[in-house]
């Protein structure tokens, strides 16, 4: 079996899995809107015990988490928390205190919470409105990123199909590679822009509520950028290859 055929099959599987994930994710995204607290409100009447945790990943290793704990009819916790690494919070703002044993964030001081088993993180109790805009940006980003991924895999399939038919040096191939590389460049820039936007949103809300700003540590995805520049170079080589091939066929 030709190696291009194997790669083609892998790409097909990748495309199918991405589309399934895109579909499922899209339905969850637009049906629930990620407002878990709102969802729970209607079904809590007469509930004796219930436990639910919802997590949304955000940049800088931050997480927006929703905790619901009901025990013997008493609501122990029903709130959103921003999970932030302690290293991003100014040191003078942190004063440790003994934290009682529990499986949900417990108050340290004011609106700052801590989880017993987590030494490196701090939980900040926050209303949904604080994270709402960050989640909206994140949703748009997730949709765009998925679309970029699906287009890139689709173009890879087209490229591999040509290779499988022994059509190596044709103008189409170099344009496929160039488009994939532009998508990757676009993705790496978009990724950084989204990180910055979410950081700015959350930071301004924290500044208003607590009077401190987070130490920024945004990460630029160099892997994608360099790989895409590498692909641009390869695409250029393919253009030269196409010319060579044309010359060869003319000579014959």
């Amino acid at each position: 079996m030709k190696i291009t055929k194997i790669l083609l099959w892998i790409a097909f599987i990748g495309l199918a899995l991405s589309m399934i994930a895109f579909g499922i994710f899209g339905v969850i995204l637009f049906k629930t809107g990620f407002n878990a607290q709102e969802e729970e409100k209607s079904s809590l009447e007469g509930v004796g015990s219930k436990s639910r945790t919802v997590t949304f990943k955000l940049p800088m290793n931050m997480e927006a988490e929703y905790y619901l704990r009901i025990k013997d009819g008493i609501v122990l916790v029903d709130a959103y928390f921003l999970k932030i690494e302690k290293k991003y919070i100014p040191k003078d703002f942190l004063t440790q205190s003994d934290i009682p044993e529990s499986d949900y964030p417990k108050v340290m001081k004011g609106n700052l919470y801590s989880m017993p088993e987590s030494e490196s993180y701090l939980f900040i109790k926050t209303p949904f409105s604080t994270i709402e805009s960050a989640l909206t940006i994140w949703k748009a980003y997730a949709m765009l990123a998925f679309s970029f991924l699906i287009i890139a895999i689709y173009l890879t399939i087209k490229f591999l199909r040509n290779c499988n038919k022994d059509l190596f040096f044709i103008a189409q191939n170099s344009s496929y590679l160039r488009t994939i590389s532009y998508l990757a460049i676009g993705y790496s820039l978009m990724d950084y822009a989204v990180q910055w936007l979410i950081y700015r949103e959350i930071n301004s809300k924290l500044e208003d509520s607590f009077g401190f700003s987070l130490n920024s540590n945004l990460e630029f995805n160099w892997n994608y950028l360099i790989f895409s520049l590498f692909l641009v170079m390869i695409a250029q080589a393919f253009t030269e290859g196409t010319k060579l091939k044309e010359e060869q066929s003319l000579t014959i």
Binding site: T4, K87, E117, F169, F227, M233
Partner: protein, 187 residues
Amino acid sequence: MNTLKSQWKEKWVNQPSLMLITVVIWAIFIGLCIQAGALLFTFIYSLFRPIVAQDLFEGLNLSALLEANPWYYGGVISIVLYIMGQKAYLFYLMIRVFLKINLVQPFSKEVSQLISSISYVAFQIGVAIMIASGIFKGMGKRGYDLDGLPQLVGNGFEFLLMAALLIAIGIIFKRGVEIQAENELTV
């Protein structure tokens, strides 16, 4: 030494954009080497002074894991160091491609071999990251605090995608070398 210097000068004159990218890749390569070196140093140091494990690299705190199980601690850091080392090697190979390639006559045996090597290294990194992520998830479920370690190794899928594309490109480059040689002979 002089030929190397003249080669550099020639490349800057003929392919300035490529050389500019090469400089950026050099910077990333050096950054990755420093990252891996710093983690290796603090890891060895932490075996003698456990307090160092509280800030191994950019606030990475694995003191709880070191306290709970030093063997797991050593294993986890070894995996991360392997991935970091391979990433640095990948960028080193890319530098070599950028230095070797000539966009007027791009197909050469050396570049073709380098592209094949890059694809294998990318595949190894992708698989290693996926295995590492599985291990980290398992350890997390068993109650070990791994701090920001999963974020440090990154995502394996992108490397696998990159490997798949580069394997195909490597094959085509081999064909390109043949065509270019044939053309040169014809002329």
